[in-house]
Assembly symmetry: C2
Homo-oligomer: 385 residues x 2
């Protein structure tokens, strides 16, 4: 079990009507609030009106239109608003995209240069305005961690950054907000949660048994409840379990005592940077292809554990058992309605090589569970084209 | 899934040599440190000397001799020292007893009356000095929660209290500190961890599936590694997994979305209050007896889940399956060397009735998983005499 630090300061308020606590939560930080949200779904589902009622007495400045893969242009706009209106607190209402944008805005508000600097070099983030979130999509885990991913369409880059200053002070997690999601977002969000766990679970065996069991627990929860939510979007138990899974998958606990670089996320970031596809869809497509590519003698035990403990499969032949787990993963995503080839997702064959090159340009892929070269990545991409 | 709040601010530093970070961690809080520890094992195992070297430059005031069931008399002594020496920070080095004492000392230092008031009425704790801990026993989970249990031998009371102000600012968790523990402490500590999980897991089914899986994960980890640690006390992987289990069992995650009152802990507090026995031993003795007493149609499914998911048992007959899980629990504690009757633990038959009465006097047992009367509790005690 490797050494680790776990420090998750976020005050999580989980459940029905927790938004009523928002005024009391944000009051200590000041009066001037930048409200960051997306394409307007919070107006359709009523959250916007509830917020405006609740936050009478605060000075609200709005930044709407945050994109699904949030752009640095939106962040720059938010930073200008913060400086212009002397903002005390950034309130993100939405999914991971809004929260990620809010984080870099909060950092940019207290930084003198272009906020893209903070994405390229996280060491430049030495302070940030306090961030509070109201989550409306179970996916990225951004509601309880320090990470943010921002895209720059000019430079065709989608890069991750992070800072302890970016950890939200509080997050409102009300599963009711998920019931109006289109099925594709529920499915893609679940794929994102599962991919976070895969990135942490499929690592060298460091004897972090409890953490491995926690990873398996989150995966089982996603598998059990995603289909329930797709069939009956109003099922509270399903929505609640998926929402809590998203937070638990990436607040530090699923890697406690483990380590190693991520694989599918860096590759997927290039898919999104080149084609602006849905992050979770890209991850779902890549995952089985990656798993098959790295399945070999050294990784066999872990893949067998996965097949046994997550899917409940049994079997004498280890390689067969491992493949059963991978096949089940692919079928699961398919049954959730996710297009499972890059072609179906709108990606062109001619870009596969460039995206593989960009992956290794932007990331050191030698510390992954199985280290990958540019050629390996191109092969993985071809296998799921 | 019930509504819940999760807010665990503790900065956890887990692993080998994490104590080296202590000066940097405590520096922001001030110079004057009250060092709280127990019977002197930290002098034998070298932690004391390391601390004294590291904390040169701080003004250290010592309070040693904290008892295994910490007494209010020790707390009062600590409070006097805080007031006399203008203490800025309470540093607990030890197991849950030291940490619990440190918490009430930290509260008492900023309170005008007798610190016993803060044990009897937690609403009186409106502030506390910052608390930092160095954990040397995996058991109570006190290193990352707001709870403290203090005994008053004059009034023959052992009562729990708690406050958000009691949550440690930071905790150093180095599994190496566990390797010199006597086997009985390893076993009793593990029984305590498992009992914390049982209290949270055996509750009405509120659809908190992920939390139930986490509970099962912690139990499996305890079962897997306790015997390893008993056979080979220096096994790092075993110690690390047990240590992290103790923290995860009682930092709020194992009850997220669940609820209901505890059963064995309130009863055990009376055993300890009357006879000053080891808390974990009392819990291990009570647990199987309690489980058998409450096993019936309404609780059957949960006991079957326990037998299946924690112990890996299968079977067609539900009642048989459930009993297999309970028997396995009892055998496990036995095999860990814990005396499994109250008689062996030195408790006298004549006190059983009084301890049952004291349990219902001090606690409302109607909100437990299965609500218990004084008579029920006396029966449970008789069954494990």
């Amino acid at each position: 079990m490797n050494n680790f630090k776990f420090h998750a300061r976020t005050d999580v308020r989980f459940g029905r009507d927790q938004i009523m606590n928002l005024p009391e939560i944000i009051k200590p930080y000041g009066k001037n609030v930048l409200l960051v949200y997306g394409g307007g779904s919070i107006k359709k589902n009523g959250i916007y009106n509830i917020l405006m009622d609740l936050l009478r007495g605060f000075h609200i400045v709005e930044l709407s239109g945050i994109e699904p893969n949030p752009k640095i242009t939106s962040v720059r706009e938010g930073v200008s608003l913060c400086k212009e209106h002397d903002i005390d607190l950034v309130l993100a209402v939405g999914g991971g995209s809004c929260i990620d944008a809010a984080k870099v805005i909060a950092g940019g508000a207290l930084y003198d240069g272009d906020p893209w600097d903070l994405v390229v070099d996280s060491s430049k983030i030495d302070k940030a305005l306090p961030i509070v979130t109201v989550l409306t999509l179970a996916a990225t885990g951004s509601e309880m961690n320090q990470f943010a991913v921002i895209s720059n369409m000019e430079t065709r880059e989608k890069l991750g950054t992070g800072s302890p200053n970016f950890v939200p002070m509080a997050s409102i997690l009300d599963p009711i907000y998920l019931i109006t999601l289109p099925n594709m977002q529920t499915a893609a969000g679940t794929a994102d949660i599962m991919s976070h766990v895969f990135e942490q679970y499929f690592q060298k065996d460091d004897g972090a048994y409890l953490t491995d069991c926690l990873c398996e627990s989150i995966l089982k929860t996603c598998i059990k409840y995603c289909k329930v939510a797709l069939e009956n979007p109003k099922d509270y138990e399903a929505r609640a379990n998926l929402m809590w899974s998203s937070t638990m998958a990436l607040n530090g606990l699923a890697s406690a005592g483990k380590g190693g670089g991520w694989t599918c996320h860096p590759i997927e970031h290039e898919l999104s940077a080149f084609y602006d596809i849905t992050h979770g869809v890209g991850l779902a497509i890549l995952t089985p292809s990656w798993m098959r590519y790295i399945l070999k003698e050294e990784t066999l035990t872990r893949f067998c554990n996965y097949a046994r403990n997550v899917w409940g499969f049994e079997g004498e032949d280890s390689m067969e058992l491992a493949n059963k787990g991978i096949d089940a993963t692919e079928n699961f995503f398919k049954e959730c309605g996710i297009p499972m080839t890059l072609r179906e997702a709108g990606i062109e064959e001619k870009s596969l090589h460039d995206m593989a090159v960009a992956t290794t340009d932007h990331n050191d892929m030698s510390g992954c569970y199985v280290s990958l070269t540019t050629e390996d990545i191109e092969n993985i991409l071809k296998n799921c084209f």
